[in-house]
Symmetry: C2
Subunit: 421 residues, 2 copies
């Protein structure tokens, strides 16, 4: 049976044909069945989840009435540990909820549990597998959130992205991922990796659910997606790392552009000005400088509890000079203005969500660079499932909108989704 | 006896004529004498401070060898509570150190204790008094840090600024305050109020100490201040709220500009383009939108433990629409570029550090708006003590540098300080 979307669930609960408790118990049943293989959850207390659901049934109301949500385990919860996939934080319960969690609770959501993250949302992986094939990674760092949504454990989950940690795992798992315009969502209670880049993001199986979830996090009435927008102007943006995309990804993007043109979209090629061809180096300089300092406490007080992988990355970050960091910050300002200017001629850019399908094994969560570009740009991004690759695993296409035009991006994504198949 | 600067203390400790333990005991003695009146400390455990000092004497080395530091009580410490001047957090000890604290510890500093903050670095005051006159506020939100440095309790202290919370209290207390370029300093482990604005800052009694302290926080060898720079080009920037400055502040600024011109500086008047005359409204929209969401957990789970003052501010923040927030974010991008352009003709801007002297009473910590302008601009700022007002309390002048040119600002500040008297 196809799992309910959040939007459907709220409608049924409001109509009295479903209770939050039944919905949550169904999710828990699905998890009990699948978790031994998928391993999406870092913490799950079924009794606490059911108690929240019963409370939601009593309270009634709220735009997320009774909807269970998965919370990436670098995001604080006052009633569950936040472990960051690190022995330093194992079992530690924060003093409060992250703002995004508090805002969902006040929208009457059920915080179902904590989803597996890579260590501190960096590279060292957790145990989660790809629900489409347990021999492959779900991507990262929001590994558990992507897998849990894809596998029907929850309709909604939080991820975070500093490089490619929302869009890439969503694409690998075949769900919708959304990274909002930088700064729109609160980051209180979310472990800070890189203050110039960290972005809270959302995962769901439908765009309507993304819009609903976004409303709760913004503490605003959700802006309904408008699929009746005029035919969009689409820019096919191969990005400076196009050659690192797999053959099936390249083919998918170009075929999608062609298909959307056939459906009436105006499609043009869009490229960065050559001065920005090395913009990923600037992302690297910023993330290196900032993370090396931001993890000072872990690095200095608990070096034996930091993975070798992360410690090596932090040491590399210490090699970035202040001059290099400043140059990268200055370039990122220019890059943001340049990216803004690309939207003079298009409503949306399309580009790969990842180089290709999810890699084999769970040790390597995949290459984030097709996403890091846009994390640096601060643009809103959506990945839509758009078929499968040569291994039968999901491929996504990434839609990039103009900064601060998230509503327009989501409606354009709905137009694209409607015309993809 | 004039208290030692950090730079002097490190030199004496390195020369073997002083120990960290003696230095810390001297500070504790001074605090014991003055704290009943000044009330600068939210947490202080003399035994823990002395133990750290003894360890520093054993470890030796480190650019802050043995130097005691005051830490604003919204900044995490793994061995002391972080109370945020809120009953919600009273007595709660964080899991780790803020990155800035960890970086100072690795520079062999002594974390002496936690300094009084207003509630969550917002407006609701703590008990701290102005060391120059206990009938007056020390300013806020970094009240205890400014008072402790001014009164010789510690040579160095951390503050944070979202509006005017470093520069203003430093000016009211007659010490040097420094707010770096936005994003240069890590914010990990510092309670987030407004992610677009929050800036960690430093307080000290000498510019050399600011440079030393900054080196530790950046984890870089300190860049020595160069007082031998060429005569600077100075822009007298009255700002759009000049009329809200007191008569003695206006007189001080204009007299200072005249005096520096006499000493060889090239002084011109600099004004914002008229479109930015209302830029403080944009600061208000950004801080209102962000803080209303960022304190969601406190507001929703512990409304009875939030001051009426803060709760009213948060509710007002909820009235800011997303459209208004986005407009303010867009305007702040344009404002940053405009402020950058002002530096085509000058090396530094001078403007008031506050409307005037510290107000009477401790209930109102003063008007932050002469600082909020530059917090939004993301520029580095320094306040220098520059005389007294009609009540005999300190007045400061604020020097504003080009973003990312903090070294140049500090050296220019040294030139100005040398020529002020």
């Amino acid at each position: 049976m196809k799992p309910l979307s959040a939007t459907e669930a709220v409608a049924r609960i409001e109509a009295g044909t479903l209770t939050a408790e039944k919905l949550v118990r169904d999710c828990l049943d699905r998890i009990a069945e699948r978790e031994p293989v998928v391993k999406a959850w870092a913490f799950l207390n079924p009794d606490l989840a059911v108690a929240q659901a019963r409370a939601a049934d009593v309270i009634r109301g709220g735009i997320l009435r009774g909807v269970p949500i998965g919370v990436k385990d670098i995001i604080d919860t006052h009633d569950m540990p936040t472990g960051h996939n690190s022995p330093i934080f194992q079992g530690k319960i924060p003093f409060g909820d992250a703002a995004c969690v508090a805002l969902c609770r006040t929208a009457n959501a059920v915080i179902l549990g904590k989803t597996v993250t890579t260590e501190f949302a960096n590279r060292h992986p957790g145990p989660t597998t790809n629900p489409h094939n347990p021999g492959h990674t779900p991507g990262g760092s929001s590994s558990g959130s992507a897998a849990a949504v894809a596998d029907g454990h929850v309709p909604l989950a939080f991820g975070t992205q500093t490089g490619g940690s929302v869009i890439r795992p969503a694409a690998y798992c075949g769900v919708i991922g959304y990274k909002p315009t930088f700064n729109d969502f609160s980051r209180v209670g979310i472990k800070m990796q890189c203050h110039s880049l960290d972005t809270l993001g959302l995962m769901a199986r439908t765009l309507d659910d993304i819009a609903l979830f976004r409303g709760a996090v913004l503490k605003l009435p959700p802006v309904a997606i408008d699929p009746g927008i005029p035919r969009p102007r689409i820019g096919l943006c191969r990005t400076p790392i196009w050659n690192e995309a797999s053959a099936d990804t390249k083919k998918l993007l170009e075929a999608t552009a062609g298909k959307l043109a056939d459906k009436g979209a105006a499609v043009i090629d869009v490229a960065f000005a050559p001065t920005f061809n090395d913009i990923l180096d600037d992302h690297g300089a910023i993330s290196g400088w900032e993370s090396a300092r931001n993890y000072a406490d872990e690095r200095l007080r608990n070096p034996d509890k930091v993975s070798g992988e992360l410690m090596a990355g932090l040491k590399k970050g210490l090699d970035v000079t202040l001059e290099r960091y400043v140059a990268a910050q200055r370039k990122s300002v220019a890059f943001k203005a340049h990216v803004d200017s690309l939207f003079d001629k298009v409503d949306v850019l399309i580009c790969p969500s990842a180089p290709g399908e999810a890699p084999a094994g769970v040790e390597f969560t995949g290459d984030p660079r097709f996403n890091s570009i846009w994390t640096l740009a601060g643009t809103p991004c959506v990945t839509l499932p758009a078929g499968t690759g040569t291994n039968g695993l999901p491929l996504g296409i990434q839609l990039v909108g103009l900064r601060h035009e998230d509503d327009r991006l989501l409606s354009t994504a709905a137009w694209v989704a409607a015309h993809l198949n």
